[in-house]
């Protein structure tokens, strides 16, 4: 059930250059069902900026009624968000979308989680929940440089974690696909979130594998009403011919929508 709630900021920490971890408290947490869902964050009560910002839920703690967002400063909205402090209140619309399917994986199976840059956060909750269900997880994370690396330690906790950076400043020099190849990583299913070129490369490299990827698009409503965030389906005979990233996704199986 989607709700609109004034959630309270419990903490805000800069975990890497311009990347922040925001801990929010409120009832809305109890409505979160799957890793990979997101929320729409209304950053001010004013009209500047007017639209809410979609941010993935990185972590949920039902006992403490907390959820964690991890975001990078991109423009005005995220910059303003980064100035919020403990005790401040934010209007949150959510939880939104359908997350990563996990219930059909079987104990003992192996999941590869591939994160690219600021696409990594939703994999944290996913990894936790997979491990809780007895799934083996391996992480491959790609960043541009050392400075952008996030969540390595946290994910390490749940499973083996490889790193790649484009400039080689830490981990392997190259892309996530290079890491997977180099270490000949095998898996039953691949979950991923990150920039489109990365998603395309993964899709191309593992045409026979089951891959679930979380997508992004400019949004307005976040709930499926405005048709801002549609993608064509790959299947031309599909009854609808499109999917909305916000409400049908943001997670899709490869082959469902055109990247």
């Amino acid at each position: 059930m989607i709700t609109v709630e004034k959630m309270v900021v419990e903490a805000q920490i800069e975990i890497a250059k311009n990347i922040f971890k925001l801990v929010l408290f409120g009832d809305l947490v109890s409505k979160v069902t799957t890793p990979g869902q997101f929320v729409n964050v209304k950053i001010t009560d004013s009209t500047d900026p007017i639209l809410p910002r979609p941010i993935s839920i990185a972590h949920v703690d039902q006992d403490k009624q907390q959820l964690v967002l991890i975001y990078r400063i991109e423009g005005k909205g995220t910059e303003l968000l980064s100035r919020k402090q403990k005790g401040d209140v934010l209007t949150i619309i959510g939880p939104l979308g359908n997350g990563f399917p996990i219930y059909d994986m079987k104990r003992g199976q192996k999941a590869l989680l591939v994160g690219g840059g600021i696409g990594t956060p939703p994999l944290l909750e996913l990894s936790k929940q997979l491990v809780m269900r007895g799934i083996e997880v391996i992480h491959v994370l790609g960043f541009q440089t050392k400075e952008g690396v996030i969540l390595q330690n946290e994910l390490q906790h749940f499973g083996k974690t490889y790193l790649a950076t484009e400039d080689g400043s830490v981990g392997m020099k190259g892309f996530v696909t290079d890491v997977i190849e180099q270490y000949q990583i095998t898996f039953d299913r691949l979950y991923t979130c990150g920039p489109t070129p990365m998603l395309k490369a993964l899709e191309a490299n593992f045409p026979e594998k089951e891959i679930f990827m979380s997508l992004e698009e400019r949004m307005a409503c976040g709930i499926g009403a405005c048709y801002a965030c549609v993608r064509h389906t790959c299947n031309q005979d599909d009854d609808l011919g499109y999917r909305k990233i916000c409400s049908d996704g943001p997670v899709f199986r490869t082959g469902e929508v055109v990247l």
Partner: protein, 303 residues
């Protein structure tokens, strides 16, 4: 006894608040949030003869106190709208205003003829002003003679009253209003979006794939208020006003300007509960300003 009910051609509204076309889909998403029967009416997404995918993405961009959209009239087409969406909506006690669009006059006639026979469709809203439709659509909304002509032809086939939605992208809105009134319109809705554009400073390229889009939200409210004020004193048919409404105070401003009901668009994206919230606040505001009935204040700003 309600102080918010309003009677308009074809429409017995419990209250004068309705979601604007294109900002509420066909209501399904909002039905999970609140009871749609609380709304005065629902203006459904523009319906065309054939299904339309619309424009490539990005389709929205943010602006100061507003947003641009270039959805491109995405909709499942007349058949599905009637067979699925309107049928589904019939479970609610709420009149539907069917927003119809097309590339040719024949398209309009076709959609109007069929959709106006559906039982919960109590009025049509002729979208002659959508700035995002490339093939000719735009001229419908800016040339009085053409607007009059479409209105006449749609009136001739429609089973229900016809409201014409005017584009603000004109030099003289009164002239447009008079033309559609002469064409037999039962009411006017305004404003649709102002044509605008944004460029991404990082890339130097337009943000919208469609390059230009329609500007909506609080930024356009002064233009909307001015047009409602002008048109309401020019024609003898009622006006459903819209453009930037975010609060019950904004609703009063539109009524003072001369509107008889209002629609809420962009604000639904900022707060999905905005319509019931405004309905709720409006009653309190009538008390605050000692207004007996909302209809008492229509046009109070006129000289």
């Amino acid at each position: 006894m309600s102080r918010l009910n309003v009677s308009l051609p074809g429409l017995q509204l419990k209250n004068p608040i309705m979601p604007a076309s294109g900002c509420f889909g066909f209501g399904r998403e909002f039905a999970e949030l609140y009871d749609l029967s609380t709304l005065g009416a629902i203006m459904i997404k523009a319906t065309t003869v054939e299904p339309r995918f619309g424009n490539p993405t990005p389709r929205v961009a943010e602006t100061s106190a507003g947003m641009l959209n270039a959805i491109g009239l995405q909709n499942p087409g007349l058949e599905k709208v009637i067979g699925e969406e309107l049928l589904w909506l019939s479970q609610f006690d709420v009149p539907i205003i069917a927003n119809i669009a097309g590339m040719t006059v024949d398209d309009y006639i076709h959609v109007a003829q069929e959709i106006s026979t559906v039982s919960n469709v109590k009025a049509l809203e002729l979208n002659i002003s959508c700035p995002n439709v490339k093939q000719g659509g735009i001229t419908f909304g800016t040339v009085p003679e053409v607007a009059k002509e479409v209105t006449e032809q749609v009136k001739a086939v429609s089973d229900v009253p016809v409201y014409v939605k005017l584009s603000p992208n004109v030099a003289d809105i009164k002239e447009m209003a008079k033309a559609v009134e002469e064409g037999g319109a039962d009411g006017i809705t305004l404003i649709n979006t102002l044509t605008g554009m944004r460029i991404d400073v990082k890339t130097g390229k337009p943000i919208l794939a469609n390059i230009t889009g329609g500007l909506s939200g609080p930024a356009v409210k002064p233009v909307a208020i001015r047009m409602v004020y002008e048109v309401s004193q020019t024609v003898n048919i009622p006006i459903i006003g819209m453009g930037g409404i975010q609060s019950a105070e904004d609703v009063l401003e539109f009524f003072y300007a001369g509107a008889s009901a209002v629609a809420v668009g962009t604000a639904n994206f900022v707060d999905p509960f905005i319509c019931p919230k405004i309905i709720n606040d409006l009653e309190k505001l009538l008390d605050k300003y000692q207004i007996h009935h909302i209809t008492d204040i229509i046009g109070r700003s006129w000289a």
